[in-house]
Symmetry: C2
Subunit: 350 residues, 2 copies
């Protein structure tokens, strides 16, 4: 597959839309939705020593629309969506109800990444060609947003499931470009001397083996010993790579294939679509040598029909309680892990 062509469109309210790959133009009469007025501020919490984003227009945001009203589907005559195209492969647009806006004092950016123009399905069901396209999209967005003036950290993530607060079902993720290095990234990078921590963690898991789920194509997936969530899984390249652009195209696809196998295992684990958060940690915009790209999945179920809640200990003290042993969770996930999907180039493999 050739490198994706990108088409840029600016909506009347100034928001950018990027269409990746092939697409068909919006139907005649397309009316772009417009961003409502809002108050956007960044406030310092001196107790927690962290920034809080205030975004006081979000209350009106689209909430679980009917399928026919999905704002991420292609536009059709009489139904204008966020995507000014009648068909597309993958699309990125600036969120109409963002947590940050690009102008001061909030000074950040919130993008929505639409994985496919097909409404049904999820990251777990994307065909290999879409995975490859998505790897290119993430690489492109990381590169462009990291280079933007004032941006300190680009954070690619996905919320999945109504129990995580997802308000749209169409397969999509998000990208926040923060004007500061967020606390979680900061603590991961706090050890500024010595070898890469993530390299050590991967080596330890591979040595121990009993929490490893995948070790293939240069990618390792494991339930960390110190998981906060019962079925938390981390996925990382075995080699030291700071961010998406530092991986080869084959490496990027291998990472997405490993991620997809994890999400498929999640859906099989309790035989329901697993609600989860996916958090991708890469190097800050000002490249830090110790940064090592890795993806963290936080599935929020602890057993069939039961959610893991963040309650007093987690929220008020910062101490997570995990009801499961990581070693046992790894075994349960291994039991439902499928074989890797052949990449499109290897489609004729038996």
């Amino acid at each position: 597959m050739p490198r994706a062509a990108r088409t840029d469109i600016v909506q009347p309210d100034g928001r950018h839309v990027h269409l990746y790959g092939d697409f068909a133009s919006a139907p005649a009469g397309y009316q772009a939705p417009a961003m409502p007025n809002g108050v956007y501020e960044r406030r310092w919490n001196p107790l927690r020593r962290e920034w809080v984003l205030v975004a006081a227009s979000r209350q009106a945001r689209t909430f679980l629309p009917d399928r026919a009203d999905c704002p991420l589907c292609p536009s059709r005559p009489g139904h204008s969506t966020e995507i000014p195209a009648a068909r597309y492969e993958a699309a990125v647009f600036e969120n109409r109800f963002p947590a940050m806006v690009p102008w001061p004092p909030a000074g950040g950016s919130c993008e929505v990444v639409v994985y496919t123009d097909e409404h049904e399905g999820s990251f777990a069901t994307l065909p290999a060609s879409r995975l490859e396209r998505l790897a290119e999209v993430w690489t492109d967005r990381y590169r462009e947003l990291s280079a933007r003036r004032g941006i300190k950290y680009v954070y690619i993530f996905e919320n999945r499931g109504e129990q995580v607060g997802v308000t749209l079902h169409h397969p999509h993720g998000q990208i926040y470009a923060y004007p500061f290095v967020p606390p979680v990234a900061a603590s991961e990078l706090a050890r500024r001397t010595g070898a890469c921590l993530q390299c050590e963690l991967v080596a330890d898991e591979l040595k121990g083996r009993h929490r490893v789920l995948i070790n293939e194509g240069g990618m390792v997936a494991y339930v960390p010993a110190y998981a906060r969530w019962p079925y938390e899984v981390h996925v990382a390249p075995r080699a030291h790579r700071a961010a998406f652009p530092d991986l080869s195209p084959a490496g990027r696809l291998a990472l997405l294939v490993a991620m997809q196998r994890i999400t498929r295992a999640y859906d099989r684990l309790f035989e329901v679509p697993m609600p989860y958060m996916m958090a991708m940690h890469q190097s800050p915009a000002a490249v830090i040598e110790q940064a090592h790209l890795h993806v963290e999945f936080y599935p929020i179920m602890r057993e069939r029909g039961k959610l893991k809640y963040l309650a007093g200990s987690e929220s008020g003290a910062g101490v997570f309680i995990n009801d499961t042993l990581a070693e046992e969770s790894a075994q349960r996930l291994r039991d439902v892990l499928d074989e890797p999907t052949p990449s499109p180039a290897a489609g004729d493999r038996p």
Copy 2:
């Protein structure tokens, strides 16, 4: 009301129960419930730089029992509960499904504080006499647990509502005695020089006034400018007090009265019992001069019928997004704030 007498009982499995004030003995044939076997570990998360508590017996814990099976109600013939008493005022017992056990390597303690022997109601509906009793219970537990060998931080909290993961409806809170200073307390106390941060914050709020809800009896309640949750409220003594034992009995009651007024306002705000977390931050066991007792309420609703979820930005980056302006939330809460309940000593006041 005289200082509460305390009666200590040790259950056959070694767990302690403390009955505060008057009580009636357990009915003949009382059978204490026994703690199941479990795995309790403390694991270091080197990425987040925090301890995670592993408690692998909790999966079997009591989950939303019928009212007749409530384990916090008084025991009656044929129904033995956690409380070996047929009637009581307030009770504390070591959790049968704890996150930590007092022996190594976890080395902590998890207590349940039962506010009343009446099954119905909540902290918001406790009569003044129970509030006064509860203030004594919290003071006693803080004192005793802080003095315990190996305990570094005593954390009093309450989870309320099924949406916060509460599995028992009987009015109760919890106390965790951690063998380390938890991350949230550590960051609050990180500024080790200069004046007390909490004293400054209270003074700032009183100067600004527009986020203050209560300023009475030496207690101040306000929506902090930097709230993470839409209706987050902090309550603190105006004077610098490190912990419960440093307040006078009248001061303790004033704090609980202020807390109760906040919870009553919460229940009125959306006309449903507000699910919330209450987090009490006091001095670590090794007293730190800068510590200033304060209570943080995190109600998890953002508007009628809608919850605030912790999703990708909060969980994966540590950046909270607040959909509301603290100043507007304060106004809405002030609109539903009642008058203070007269203390029992002032029962004849008009």
